[in-house]
Amino acid sequence: MGSPPEVPLDELYREVVLDHYRHPRGREPLARVDVTAQGFNPLCGDQVEVALQVGEELIQQAQVLSRGCAICTASASMMAEALPGQTLAQAEQGAEAFRQVMHGKPFPQELPLGDLEALEGVKHFPVRVKCALLPWMTLKEAIAALRRGERRAKATTE
């Protein structure tokens, strides 16, 4: 068996990723919280909290708090930036598309995913994929809860 291709470190931690890591966006509290979800990766202890302000199926504002590694923090920050203005269905579609990107599918240029493309390199580091996906899995749970008429949800990667 051959070794996996040797992908350089800056393919994983691109400049944009490091920038989001050092200066995460979307941390400001919302005027109104319609649903929150907490995500947890028991393997590394990474935590994400997503809060959404939603009106007419449209995400008006998002707050995403994260406590974790650079990849998780950057992914959370990019998500927070990309979400406002998307419908719930678009957000779900984005989450699913990003999951598939992490499993090797090409990046969907047509979706409004903001800086997220910079995280594409994570797919070459299988143990880090869950770090990138945690915010998006948490988002999915938040939206699912909202659809059930609930205000709180939990997600774990395991």
Binding site: Y13, L18, L43, C44, G45, D46, G68, A70
Partner: protein, 416 residues
């Protein structure tokens, strides 16, 4: 003996030459393998023993009346005898050959708990690996037992005063690690055993980290059961041992039923085989067990005297280098004579996962995460840490490579 020249000296570079995997590169760099507490690499003689078993001896054990089966049985039983000698077990019948430490602890937890009554107490500690916590949690749930936990001190040692307070006539089992896989703390097992036996509790020792690093004498430890894994001591994966006092094993019910573990079977009942076979249902991991004595031979040749001197020196050196970096919190006792050959640490700014990823690009393999000890991590107030754990083939050069890579990570993340 006053002369230091009588102490055998271990030359890690020479030892490393005996491990084929250590000759490979990772991402174009020399492999610096520092995850030995998870599993060690295997020397050539172990690989050859495996190959030899499958090419010359392979057959099922305790069954066929033909040469091959007799040879396979002898090789398997030879493992049991060697292990019994290795830990000075009173009797090879007290050595049950299983898959790993986890299975060994589960066996005791399942079987011994059937002898207990609701309200009986199991005393374990805050620094246990999940494999010495969860089996007891399961048993407690099933049997209505009460679990108590001995806390650790700020230094990362077991709080012995608290142990004495928590120990009572209701305590039926004390389950404790011989050495913490996160803190490196070496637990004073004989002291605990003395107190536990006074109240009539049995003592189960998780020896997964202890047995690979020092000479262990079952009788001197004094415990009733000792569990450990071959794969953490240069042997193959898939073989582990439960060493127990034969009279206790005899009193225990088996947990798995099937072939091998029975004496007579009728359609409506069965009688059990003698110990240790009654705990070894089904075809065991014959080949890996047969190869394990080669690992013990390797350790014997190096001698624990030299191994301990080497590993203590290396751990002290690593502690000094890591502490000298600043910005790292090192967990566990400082005194190298009170700790085993591993150091867990957290960087002030870099998440353990990020650090491990960068280290890997330098060929340095370390563990990042909760190390299967979530309650301990909570107690330490961290969610994850990086752990560097050492073995006979690691050198100061490996520690230097680790330190170099940490500095590179800091530069990479713009923190240096």
């Amino acid at each position: 003996m006053t002369s230091t020249t009588s102490v055998p000296v271990l030359r890690p570079q020479r030892v490393a030459e005996r491990f084929p995997i250590l000759q490979r590169t990772v991402r174009g760099r020399r492999l610096v393998y520092l995850d030995n507490a998870a599993t060690t690499q295997k020397p050539r003689e172990v690989l050859e023993a495996l190959q030899r078993f499958y090419s010359h001896t392979n057959a099922n054990v305790h069954r066929g009346a033909y040469t091959l089966s007799e040879e396979a049985t002898a090789a398997f039983e030879q493992c049991r005898e060697r292990v019994a000698q290795w830990v000075h077990a009173p009797d090879p019948r007290g050595v049950v050959i299983l898959r790993n430490t986890t299975e060994a602890i589960n066996l005791v937890a399942q079987s011994w708990s059937r002898r207990l009554a609701p309200g009986d107490e199991i005393l374990t500690t805050e620094m246990e690996h999940h494999s010495n916590l969860v089996p007891w949690l399961m048993a407690a749930k099933e049997r209505g037992l009460v679990l108590r936990h001995v806390p650790i001190t700020e230094e990362g040692e077991l709080d012995l005063a608290a142990f004495r307070r928590l120990l009572s006539r209701r305590t039926r089992v004390v389950a404790v690690t011989g050495m913490s896989n996160v803190l490196g703390t070496i637990v004073p097992v004989p002291e605990l055993v003395e107190e536990a036996h006074k109240v009539g509790a049995i003592v189960v020792v998780d020896g997964a980290q202890l047995v690979p690093h020092q000479a262990v004498h079952f009788g001197q430890l004094g415990c009733d059961f000792l569990a450990f894994s071959a794969h953490k001591m240069y042997g193959p994966t898939g073989v582990g041992f439960l060493v127990g006092k034969p009279e206790l094993l005899e009193a225990m019910e088996p947990v798995l039923g099937g072939g091998e573990m029975i004496r007579e079977v009728f359609l409506d009942r069965a009688t059990w085989n003698d110990i240790p076979h009654k705990f070894e249902a089904g075809t065991p991991n014959i080949a890996d067990a047969a190869a394990f004595p080669a690992a013990l031979g390797f350790l014997e040749e190096l001698t624990f005297e030299a191994i301990q001197a080497h590993e203590q020196d290396l751990t002290a050196y690593a502690w000094e280098r890591l502490a000298g970096l600043g910005g790292l919190t090192l967990h566990g006792p400082k005194n190298p004579s009170r700790r085993g050959a591993l150091i867990s640490f957290v960087d002030e700014h870099i998440h353990p996962h990020d650090l491990a990823t960068v280290l890997d690009t330098h060929g340095v393999a370390v563990r990042a995460g909760h190390h299967c000890a979530q309650p301990l991590m909570r107690r330490l107030g961290v969610v994850a840490s990086v752990r560097a754990s050492f073995a006979v083939y690691n050198s100061r050069e490996d520690v230097d490579a680790l330190v170099f890579a940490i500095l590179a990570a800091r530069r990479f993340f713009g923190l240096a």
